[in-house]
Amino acid sequence: MSSLFSLLGVARDGMQAQSSGVSVTGQNIANVNTPGYVRRGVLLSARPFGRDSNGGVSVNGISRTFSRFAHGRVVEEHGRRGAASARASALSATEAAIAPSSGTISDRVNSFFQSLDTLSGAPSDTSARLAVLQRAGALAQQVSTTASDLAAQRDGLFDQARGVAGEVNERLARIATLNRSIAEATSLGDAGADLRDQRDQLVQEVGDRLGARAVEDASGQVTLFSAGTVLVEGGNASSVSVTLDPANNLRLQVQQPGGATTDATAAMNQGTLGGLREARDVDVPSVQAALDRFAFDLSTAVNTAHASGFGLDGVTGRNLFSAPAVAVGAARAMALNPALAGQPDRVGAAGAATDLPGGNTVALQLAGLSSRALAGGTTPPAERFGAVASDLGVRLQAANAEEQLRDETVQQAETLRESASGVSLDEEMVNLSKFQRAFEASTRVLRVADELLDTLMKSF
C-alpha cells in the first residue's frame, strides 16, 4: 500500500517527467530549422507500484528518431545531384565561351568570307584587300581567344576541384573527431544525439562533394566509404588530394592514415568532384578537340587556296594564316600570317601573274570555300563550327535535364527522411500542451496530497 507521503513522490516524479517533456519539446522547436537536426522524444516509463516504488514515472532518456536508411538515400542522391550540378554549371560557362550572345565564331567566319566575296568582285581594290586581312585577323583572334578561354576554364575547374578536395578533407577530419566523441559518449551511456546530428550532416556534405556511404558500428562510429575506398574509419580520417596526371587530367589520390596512397580517380564519378571531372576531362576536351580540328581544317583549306594566288606584287606561295603543323593546339595558335599583316598587296587574289591586278580566280576560290565542305568533314566552315556549338548544346541540355532529375530525387529522399526525422511544429505544439497539462495535473496531485496530510494532521 502506498502512503500519503509516497503520493508526494509521485507528484514530484510527474512534474520532473513533464518538465523533461517540455524541455525536449523546446529543443525540437528551437532546432526546427537546424540542418541535420533529428527530432528528439523523451522516453518515459511507469515506475512499478510496489514496496520499493511509488508507482510514479521515470525519465529513461532522450530518443533520436533517426532513419539510417532514409539518411543513406539522401546522401546517395546528394552525391548524384552534386555531380549533375557541377557539370551543368561548368558546361554553362563553356557554352558562354563558345557561343556568346553576339559575335560567335560562325559570325566571324561569315564576315571573313564576305570580305573574300567583296575581294572577288574588286580584286585590285586596296580597301577590299585590307578588309580581308582585318576579317581574317579577327576570325583568327576569336578562335584563338575561345581556345584560350577553354584552356583557362579547365585551369579554373582544376582550382575548383582542389578547393572542393580541401572542403572534403576538413569534413573528413571533423567526422573522425566526432566518431571518437560519439564512441566515448556511448561508452558512458549517453546516446550523443547532438554529436550524431553534426556527424551525419557532415557525411551528407561529403556526399555532396564526392559521394559517400556510411556504415555505423555498435559503438556508434561510422565507416565512411567514398570513391571506392575508405575515407574515415573510427577516429581515423584519410585525406584526399586532387592533382593533374601527365595527360593533364584530374587525378584523385587518397592518403590513408598509415601513409599509403591510393589512386581513386577511376571511381571519382559522384559529387561535385565527379561532375567537375566529367566536365573538365571529358566535355571540355571534346569541344577543344573539335575546335582545334575546325581551326586546322579551315586554316589549311584557306592557306592551300591562298598560296596558289598571286599578290599585287606578283609573288605567290604565301599563306593567309600561320600554318598549323598538326590539329592539336591549332585553335589557340591560329593567327594571321605576320608576313601579310598590314600588307594588302600580298593578298593572293589572282590565279596568275599575268592576270594582275584584276584577276580574281583565287579570290573566287577562297570565297567559294564558304559553301564547300572542309576537308575532314561534310559541312562548310560556319556549319562545321555550328556543329561544335550544337554538340556542346546537346551535352549541356542533357546535363541540365540530369540536374533537374537529381533535384527531384534529392527532394524525394529528403522528404522521406524529413517524414521520419523532421520536426513538426504542429506535433510539438500538441506535445507542449500535453506536457503542460500533465505538469499542471501533477501539481494538483501534490496539492491534494498536501491537503490530505493537512487534514490528517488536524484530525489528531
Binding site: 557561343a99 560562325s106 572577288s120 585590285s124 592576270d355 584577276g359 573566287l364 541540355q397 522528404t415
Partner: protein, 291 residues
C-alpha cells in the same frame, strides 16, 4: 506519411522556384522574340540557325557582288552602244567622202572629224567602272588602249559566282569589241580612214566604208553579248533575292518565337508564379503556433 513544416515549405519553395524559372524563361522569349538564344535552348535549331546565317550571308554577298558586276556590264553595254553610234557616224562620213563630187579640201576637213571620232572612241574604250577599266580584261589598273590605239590589256574573263559553284563572266571583252580579235582593229581603221581622207585617197575611203560597217557590226555584237551577260547577272540577283527570302523565312521559323505563343506562355507562367506565391503565403499563415 508524416508531414513536417519543413516538408510543406520545401515543397512550396521548390514549386515557387520552378514557377519563377518558367516565368523568367517565358519573359526572355517574349522580350527578345527569340526562341533559341543559346545552343542548349535547342541544339538542332541552333545548328540550323548557323547554317541559315551562313547561307543568308553568302546570298547577300553574292547579290552585292552581282549588282556591282552587273552595274559595270550595264555601263559597258551603254559605252559600246555609244561607240557603235560613233562608228555609224564614221560610216556616214565615209559614204559622203566617197562621193566623187567631194573635193580634197572637204575631205581634209572630214579627216579632222574622223580624228575627233577616233579620240572619242579611244575615250570610250578606256572607260572606268566600279572595278577599274572596263575593257582591259584583268588589267584593270591601267588604260587598256594607248593614245596610239595599241591594246595593252588582255581578254581574260573575270568570273563571278551566280550560284553555288556556277560562275559567269563579269567583264566585257574589250579585245573582241575594239581589236582585231573581234575581226577589225577599229581604232586603226579610223586612223587609216582619217589618213585616206587627208591624202584624198578615194580607194582608201571606199575601203573605210566596208571597215566602218564591219566595225559597227563588231561593236553591236559586243554590245549584245555584254547585254546578255549583264542580264544574266541581273537574273541571278533576282533568283538570289527569292532564295534569300525563303532561307530567311526558314531561319525565322526555326529560331524566332511565335508572338501569340510567347505572350500566352508569359501569362500562363505569371499566373503559375502568382499561385505559387499565394500557396507559400497560405502555408506560412496556417500554423498551430498562432492559436
Amino acid at each position: 506519411m508524416r508531414i513536417t513544416d519543413k516538408m510543406a515549405l520545401d515543397a512550396a519553395r521548390v514549386g515557387q522556384s520552378r514557377a519563377v524559372q518558367q516565368f523568367t524563361d517565358a519573359s526572355r522569349v517574349a522580350s527578345s522574340g527569340l526562341r533559341v538564344n543559346a545552343p542548349s535552348d535547342d541544339p538542332v535549331a541552333w545548328s540550323m540557325k548557323v547554317r541559315h546565317d551562313a547561307q543568308i550571308q553568302r546570298m547577300n554577298n553574292r547579290s552585292h557582288t552581282l549588282n556591282r558586276a552587273g552595274g559595270d556590264l550595264d555601263l559597258a553595254e551603254s559605252v559600246l552602244a555609244s561607240a557603235g553610234d560613233l562608228l555609224e557616224e564614221a560610216r556616214s562620213l565615209a559614204v559622203q567622202a566617197a562621193n566623187g563630187s567631194v573635193d580634197a579640201q572637204t575631205r581634209a576637213n572630214m579627216a579632222g572629224q574622223i580624228t575627233s571620232l577616233r579620240d572619242a572612241l579611244l575615250g570610250f574604250a578606256n572607260t572606268r567602272g566600279a572595278t577599274g577599266y572596263l575593257f582591259g580584261g584583268t588589267a584593270t589598273a591601267t588604260a587598256p588602249f594607248t593614245a596610239a590605239g595599241v591594246f595593252t590589256g588582255n581578254d581574260t574573263a573575270v568570273p563571278v559566282e551566280v550560284a553555288d559553284g556556277v560562275t559567269a563572266r563579269s567583264n566585257a571583252s574589250g579585245a573582241t569589241a575594239f581589236t582585231v580579235a573581234g575581226g577589225r582593229d577599229i581604232l586603226a581603221d579610223l586612223q587609216a580612214f582619217a589618213t585616206a581622207l587627208t591624202g584624198n585617197n578615194l580607194g582608201g575611203i571606199q575601203t573605210a566604208i566596208a571597215n566602218m560597217e564591219a566595225g559597227h557590226r563588231q561593236l553591236v555584237t559586243a554590245q549584245v553579248n555584254t547585254g546578255i551577260g549583264a542580264e544574266r547577272l541581273h537574273s541571278s540577283v533576282d533568283v538570289t533575292a527569292a532564295a534569300l527570302i525563303s532561307v530567311s523565312s526558314a531561319r525565322a521559323s526555326e529560331t524566332e518565337a511565335d508572338a501569340t505563343e510567347a505572350f500566352t506562355a508569359l501569362s500562363v507562367t505569371r499566373a503559375g508564379y502568382e499561385r505559387a506565391i499565394a500557396v507559400t503565403r497560405e502555408l506560412l499563415q496556417v500554423s498551430s503556433v498562432r492559436r
